[in-house]
Each structure stands twice: as C-alpha cells, then as structure tokens.
Amino acid sequence: MSGKEKTEISRRFEGCPYTETSAGIPLKSFYTPDDVGDFDYQRDVRDPGEYPYTRGLFRDMYRGKLWARRVFTGIGSGTDTNKRYKFLIDRGATGLFLFPDQPSMLGIDPDHPIAEGYSGVSGTSWVCLKDMYEIFDGISLEEISFSTNFSTMATPVFYSGLVACARDLGFDLAKISGSMINEPIYMSVCVYDINEQPVDPFDIATKLSTDAIEYSIKNTPKWHPLAPNPYGFHEKGANAIQEIGFQLSIMLEYVELLLKRGFKIDEFAPRMNVIGCACDMDFFEEVAKFRAARRVWAKLMKDRFGAKDPRSWRLYISVHTSGHSLTVAQPVNNIVRITMESLACVFGGLQSFDPAGYEEGYCTLTKNSALTSMNIHHILGYESRVAAVADPLAGSYFVESLTNEMEKRIFDIINKIDGLGGAIKAIESGWLRNEIDKEALREQSELDKKERIVVGLNEFVVPKEEEVPIELGRDRPLEEQMETSQRRTEEIKELKKTRNIQKTKDLLEKLYNVAGKDKQINTIPYIIDSLRADATLGEIMGVIREANGYSYDPFEMIENPFK
C-alpha cells in the first residue's frame, strides 16, 4: 500500500449495536441499585439450595457434583453407537445421549418405503431389542445416566426396550437414571403439527406417555419419564421468554390432569420437573432465563398448587446448547459459540448440558467434534475454576434486574395461556405456533437488516478459501448413504424372517388386545413382551395404532403383515 491509499476502517462497529436482549427486553448501558429497587435477598434470591432456587438447586452446587457431562450421539447401528459411547466414557463422559435416526423417531421400520435411504444415517437406528443390547454392551447402566432424544410416540417403546435390556443384563432398575422426552403436547407443536400431520395421534401419544410415566414411577424411580423439551420451541423460533413460558404452561396441563385423577401434587411433581432447554448466544439473557425459570416453577408449585415437598419446587434444567446458533460458514467459530453457551449453562447453575458439535451445520458429530465438545466440559469444569462458586452473577444489579424482568414476562405468558383456556387449547387454535412463527420471522428480518449480527453469516463474511481450516466430517455421499440404509434394512428383514414368527404374532396380538385407550391397561409390560419376541418398533406402533382405530401405518403405505 502506498501514498494516500489507506485501508478503510469500519466506523459502523465502533460501539456495541444492541439496546435490547434477543427477546426484546430493553437494555440500559449500566445498572444501579435503583434497577433492583425493592430487592430482598431473603425473599427473591436466597442461598443456593433454598426456595425459590434462583441460585441453583443445591447448597454445595458444583463442588458437590458437577453437571452431567454428555455429548450428542446418534450414529449408525447399535454397535457404532456403543463404540462411540466407550470412546466418550474413556474421555470422561458421565452421561450418555442417544439421538435416533428419522425412521426410528417416527416409529417406522427401515423396510418401510418412506424410510428408504434414512436408516442409520442422521442418528442411531433403533428398531428391536437386539439393538439395545448392542448399544449398551459392556456399559453399566447403574453407573451412568442416560438420556435420549426420542421425542415422539416411539419414546415409550424405546423406554420399554431399555427396561427389558437393563433387566436382562442384571441391572437394578431402581438404579437406572436419566430422562426421556415423553411429552405429547410439546410433540404436537415441534415434532408434527397437530393441525397438519397426524403422524402421532394425540390421544394415543398421551395414553402411551402416561403408561410409561406410571410404569417408571413404580419401577425406575430414578428415571425422569416426562422430560419436556422446550429446546424444540427455541429452535423453531421461540425467544427465551416464550421457550420457558410455553413449556411451563404445558406442564401445568399435566399437573391439572394428574390432580384430577386424584394424585397429590407432591406425589408426582418431583418426577416431572426436568426440562431440556436451548442455550443461545445472548449470554446474560440465557443466564437470567435459567435463574428465572427455576423461580417461576418453584412459585407455581408452592403458591398455586400448595406443594410442600421441596423436591416438588425444584426445576432441573438440562441443555443441548443451540444448533440454531451455529454457522456453516467459518465452522471453527462455532467452538467459540458453543463455549460461550456452555459457560452460560454453568453460570445458570444447570444440572446437565451437552455442548453442541462445531460440525452441526455439516453432519451429526464425528469423533473430532464429539471430543472437542467433551473437552469444553472439562475445560470449564476442571481448568477454569468457574464452577467453584455457585451462581457467581448473583447480586449484579443487571443480572438480578434481568432475572426479575424475565420472571415477570414468563408469568405474563403463562397467564395469557391460562386466559386462552390452557396450553392444549392455545395449541389447537394455532395461537402458540403462530407466536413462534412470528418470532422466527422477526429474527430473520433482523438478520436481513443486520440489526442482529452473526459473524460469518451476515457480517464479517470471508471467502470460503480464507476460512480458518478445521477438519470437518461430512455426510456420506448419496451412494454410501443408500448402502448404509440398505444394509440396515436387510438386517431387519432378516430378523423378521428368522425370528419365531408365531411367537411374535401371538405377543403382538396380546398387545393389540390391551392397547385400546378405553381399556385403561398399562401397555408397557406388553410392549416389553413383544420386544422380547423380536417384534420391531414399527410393528409395535402399528398394532397400537390399529387397536385405537387408526391405520397400521401413519403414512398409509403398508399393511399389517400379520393379518
């Protein structure tokens, strides 16, 4: 460069451009004691482990027990998954996670025509009990907590398989811990649209979910059998306030339902109080979200429902940071994002989280990004000392003020939904999805206008060849993808041929006979028996559908093979 030519220095970014949080709460440039005017430590915050749990659920917090360290896993067959689990356990995992492939998620078998090309591709293919043995081969289910992202009507079937497998391998069911997303109201918005695609009929989904919850309360007391997943709301576009407000409103529907059935609040609240959130890039808003969510739940349980058992007041929050916040461009930057989001989880006092993988824009996690995510846990937990002191942001004028404001706005949403007749009505009328869609459109408009900056996406874009190099996994080429799925399909076809067909048929028939929702019989033992007789996920789901007057196949492409 010579003479008068000078590199142009951007003036646009001299100052921080934001005057509100990502959910639209106005931000001042600094906060003073006036912003927390009638702040009363003993009333609003209190010590960790004390109602209303603003500062976390336990007094000794992370000194007593660090968050459960999980990493997203969803890969190929049961054996592939088991290999990844062992890799992660060797590197310090204290929790395991399973993401199913799309056919398993939808409760159809690999040999279903619509599943062609999908089996074992973007998640683990789980179809039968044999898969469960492969997944957990050599892993102690008593010592590691397990969580799954099955989040459809197939969840109770997967849970039945887990119970059968744990029993067969000689584990004490009372020691099996973890959670599953088994919440049909959430599913009716995030997995399929109640007004659009009847893949999981709401009535059977609710019946099966309730069966699994009841079975779990009696047989797997350390398991969280409902575990709603507001993460899905966030990834569809909901802001942080809506994410919590919508999900807690939905949970109130269950509370009312169970109270009507004659249960006492303290009998069930301690088993239904785990939610799986997102944690996006608005750092302080996310920390305030977690602090406020715990406080709102505690107040609802204590004040609205008169719960007396402190365990009913506690809301456990788990997080998969946020796939939505990651970029395809400059993927190395995602490590920074995931680390910031994970730090917000620690400052928010969560009991478990899994840092997303930097490759999420490209493929499900390879060993490289899984190990990187695992090490984010370790660096935060063991190297940085951020976990040594509970709720370190408490007392900050800003954070306390933001927590108060989040709490107020979450309550506003809950009251609004109460006024609409409850969450189910708000969903059936289309109101809730419309609120999410409006927020998604607002976000995109802000990105387009560059009122919301994402580095490498709408600002600070660099040409592909200038990106900082990082090894990236990638989806299998199409041919390989088709082969993987085909292999899996052949395996299941082979199982269907070589099993004791009469036995399978008999046990599916028994299941059919009890599965009608009006019979009010818990189906889980019958699902377990069917799985033991080598019935597949798709067959079990089909039979349950038929017993309730629906077509065997949600897509109406295949018939019940046993008829």
């Binding site: 619509i114 649209d193 695609q197 993808q481």
Partner: protein, 141 residues
Amino acid sequence: MGVEIMDRKIRVLAALPGIDSHDKGMVVICNALREAGVEVIYLGKFNMPEKIVRSAIEEDVDVIALSYLSDHLYMVFFPKVVELLKQNKADDICVVVGGRIADEHLNELKARGISGFFTQGAPLKDIVNHIIERANSRKKD
C-alpha cells in the same frame, strides 16, 4: 415485478420432501411470501415426490418450493419431482430449492432446471424475489 399473473396471484406450493423435519426455514419463507402477496399452499413435512407433484398440479401453482436440511437424499427427491412434472406434462411449473445442498450437486440440479439453492444466511427478500421472478418467467414461456 408483480405478484399477479394474468389477473391472479402467484401461487406457490411449499413442502419438505422425505422425512426431514427441519421446517423452521420453510415456515419463515412461507410467511414472507404471504406478506409479499403470494398465495402459498404449505404441505408441511413428510411428503414424497408423488404427493408434491399431485398437489402442485391440483392447486395449479406456478412454483414448487422445496427445503431440505438433513442428508443427501434431496438428490433423489428434487430430480424425482422434476421427472414427475415432466411425466405429467406439468414441467412448466418451476422448482426452487433451498436448505443445505452440497456444492458438488449444484451443476446436476441446475441442469434439470432447478434453481435457488438458498442456504443459511440468504436474505428473505432474495428468496422471495427469486420465487416471484421464476413465476413471472413461467408467464412468458
């Protein structure tokens, strides 16, 4: 550029083919198209090419908009939609796609008359304008 063709509004059929369930982007685009005055028929998730093409013909649309964000099966679904349109003599309906499409597939898809290829970061107005442009180009054919 108008959103009306021969006295009627531009009609777009939007869908997710296969069993990919990443529908946020498509929902946002549908709402942006509606705001721009386009008529949108949104089929939602879980559609095989046969259903997409049948619906497109029944609904007499100008453009089919498809989104795919999972794996490589779009290389089966997108060409199949074009092929079925041809078979049904409806290949004047334009096909616009977006989501996560690998660079190495672009040429093959372009050769089949598919356009768009909008990905993460594409401004909404570019997507909306492109769809309206393609619908208008159909008028001239």
